[in-house]
């Protein structure tokens, strides 16, 4: 049993030259937590996600290892967040691309994909094993729905 049945090919893709503000809008329009970034040949480059966006909105001092451990003492932070959003909006996606999240291949076993979704939290890109082409995404909700349907018919 591989992941091939649950690959979603309808995710919009981002280009490395896209601006963060446009990418964020696309992310929100499609209600996804992560979008794939590809080059002009359709090769997978990395992920842009809400998780990455949050890291841009937060002060660096909390993100570093051994940094400030909580921010409960910061009151009225909306202006701070808005400022950060505006500050980063004009940057290119390739400056903030996340490249170290796991990827899967069409022949990846389903259970492995469940493990990666559990560990990663965000949706996971499917990439061709040979030429690195982007093929689609594995969405946590869809995989869960697939298992749920199976349990209804077999249970």
């Amino acid at each position: 049993m591989t992941i091939s049945k649950v690959i979603n090919t309808s995710y919009p893709t981002l280009k490395d030259s896209d601006l963060i503000s446009d990418a964020t809008r696309l992310l929100l329009e499609h209600k996804h937590s992560a979008l794939p970034v590809v080059d002009e040949h359709g090769r997978y480059l990395g992920i842009f996600s809400t998780h990455r966006m949050f890291s841009l909105l937060l002060p660096r001092a909390v993100l570093i290892e051994g940094g400030v451990s909580d921010l409960a003492f910061v009151s009225g932070p909306m202006k701070m967040l808005v400022d950060k959003m505006l500050e980063h909006g004009g940057r290119r996606i390739d400056e903030v691309l996340v490249t170290d999240t796991p990827v899967v291949h069409p022949d990846t076993p389903l259970l492995e994909a469940v493990l990666l979704l559990y560990r990663n939290g965000n949706d996971i890109p499917v990439v061709d094993r040979e030429d690195g082409r982007y093929l689609g995404m594995i969405a946590g909700t869809e995989l869960l729905a697939h298992v749920y349907e199976e349990s209804r018919t077999h249970g």
Binding site: P59, A61, I64, E65, G67, V68, F73, M80
Partner: protein
């Protein structure tokens, strides 16, 4: 001291040369930083035993458990205390006290760093203060560099002031039998002056960067420092134990207790208070966490070094070196003290001050008879402490705290570079040693 006759060294080699060889190799590899320093020190200490310079019993007798116990005790106390959020509280509180003005923050952050470094170890102090300082600088949209620079300098100045402030002092106090109050009376008086003199150039060099707009300052003023305290009960327990421990340090020589006993007992008491009445599972987790926060790498580094130094001591190298140094200074206490001060400063800027002080301690001890006995050489201990602690400011690798700040700054995208740091820090370090020189001379040697 040298019991050369009883030794059965490898291949019957000359124990002095064998021990010297092992020691020099250990030192060289530590300086090269190619292998983790704890591994090198443990191998060096081990070689002293394997090659027959020391028996295992002799090696263990060379380990200063008072130094280790004091370090462990304080590390456990801090590991528990910091969970309360008190260090973030203090940093935010002082920033607001000065209306989030950048120059005021420089002044107060320096003061807090110095005081915390005097009462806790420097590495812990900077580990706790640097992230909050980065956050404040980020919110004020000002360069963090001058502040991190000041934190480094002031942690080493503050650490100089007390017995427990910096590992060299712990080692010196333990080996020379100098009490917490001895350090307080002899070293603490000069450190405020050194601190102020260090701050003036820092302010002068970066004064143009220390400007923040009213809106940015308002953001910091909006911080609610009370929210930084995550556990009031633990905070109260920690403050109680901490004040008892400091009182214990002040009375330790009167009560005939070693500082390690005070620190370890305090650590155990704080763990008891924190865990009393909790279920066994939670107790296990908390105690495991507190003890795992102890910097075992540093402690094993100490253990290996103590053994290696004991090896050259037993083999007679320390006596020979002491003899040589006395010949150079012609047995004059003033010349000896000032040479130790400047020599330790430069050495500690270049190499880790812990192995340096570990070697100097038996060396100074063995010079005592020639210079008029244990009491007469007390100024030499102060010279060593001032030189080794303040010398750490000379370069980025001069003290562990410097590297810790640099590491955090690097992660936060505001790296501190070796050469840039050296250009200002080394002259500042020499200036601080010049002040210490005058102080030592006027107070003990004139």
């Amino acid at each position: 001291m040298a019991e050369v006759h009883g030794m059965h060294t490898l291949f019957g080699m000359n124990p002095l040369w064998l021990a010297t060889g092992i020691f020099v190799a250990t030192y060289a590899i530590i300086i090269s930083e190619r292998v983790n320093r704890a591994i090198v020190a443990l191998l060096g200490g081990g070689m002293m035993i394997l090659c027959g310079i020391l028996t295992q019993e002799a090696a263990i007798s060379g380990i200063d458990f008072n130094t280790l116990g004091l370090l462990i005790g304080m590390m456990v106390i801090v590991a528990v205390t910091k969970k309360s959020g008190v260090f973030q509280f203090v940093a935010i509180w002082i920033a607001k006290k000065v209306k989030a003005r950048p120059i005021g923050i420089l002044l107060m952050m320096s003061l807090v760093t110095a005081v915390f470094s005097a009462l806790l170890d420097n590495v812990t102090t900077v580990l706790l203060l640097t992230p909050v300082m980065l956050l404040i600088a980020e919110e004020l949209r000002i360069k963090s560099y001058p502040y991190l620079f000041a934190i480094i300098i002031m942690s080493n100045v503050g650490g100089t002031a007390t017995l427990i402030g910096d590992p060299p002092n712990i080692m010196i106090g333990s080996a020379a039998g100098l009490s917490f109050n001895d350090f307080l009376l002899n070293l603490a008086p000069i450190t405020p002056l050194i601190g102020v003199v260090m701050l003036l150039p820092i302010w002068w060099i970066w004064r143009k960067d220390m400007v923040a707009s009213a809106t940015d300052r308002a953001r910091v003023m909006n911080f609610n420092e009370l929210e930084a305290i995550t556990d009031w009960k633990l905070l109260k327990q920690a403050l109680l134990v901490f004040s008892l421990v400091i009182t214990g340090f002040m009375l330790h020589s009167i009560m005939h207790l070693q500082p390690a006993t005070v620190a370890m007992f305090g650590a155990a008491m704080l763990l008891l208070l924190e865990n009393f009445g909790s279920n066994p599972d939670l107790q296990g987790k908390r105690v495991h966490h507190a003890l795992s926060e102890v910097e075992w790498v540093t402690l094993f580094f100490f253990i290996g070094l103590f053994i290696a130094v004991h090896g050259i001591e037993q083999a007679g190298l320390i006596d020979a070196m002491a003899h040589g140094l006395l010949e150079l200074t012609q047995g004059d206490l003033t010349t000896t003290a000032l040479s130790i001060l400047w020599g330790s400063a430069v050495a500690s800027a270049v190499v880790d001050n812990i192995p340096f002080v570990a070697t100097m301690i038996p060396l100074i001890k063995s010079m005592a008879p020639a210079l008029g006995g244990a009491h007469a050489i007390e100024p030499l201990w102060w010279a060593l402490a001032l030189g080794a602690c303040l010398g750490g400011n000379g370069t980025l690798v001069g003290a562990s705290a410097n590297l810790v700040v640099a590491g955090i700054a690097e992660n936060a995208g505001a790296p501190i570079r070796f050469a840039r740091f050296l250009k200002i820090a080394f002259p500042l370090m020499l200036l601080s040693i010049a002040i210490a020189h005058v102080y030592l001379y006027l107070r003990y040697l004139a």
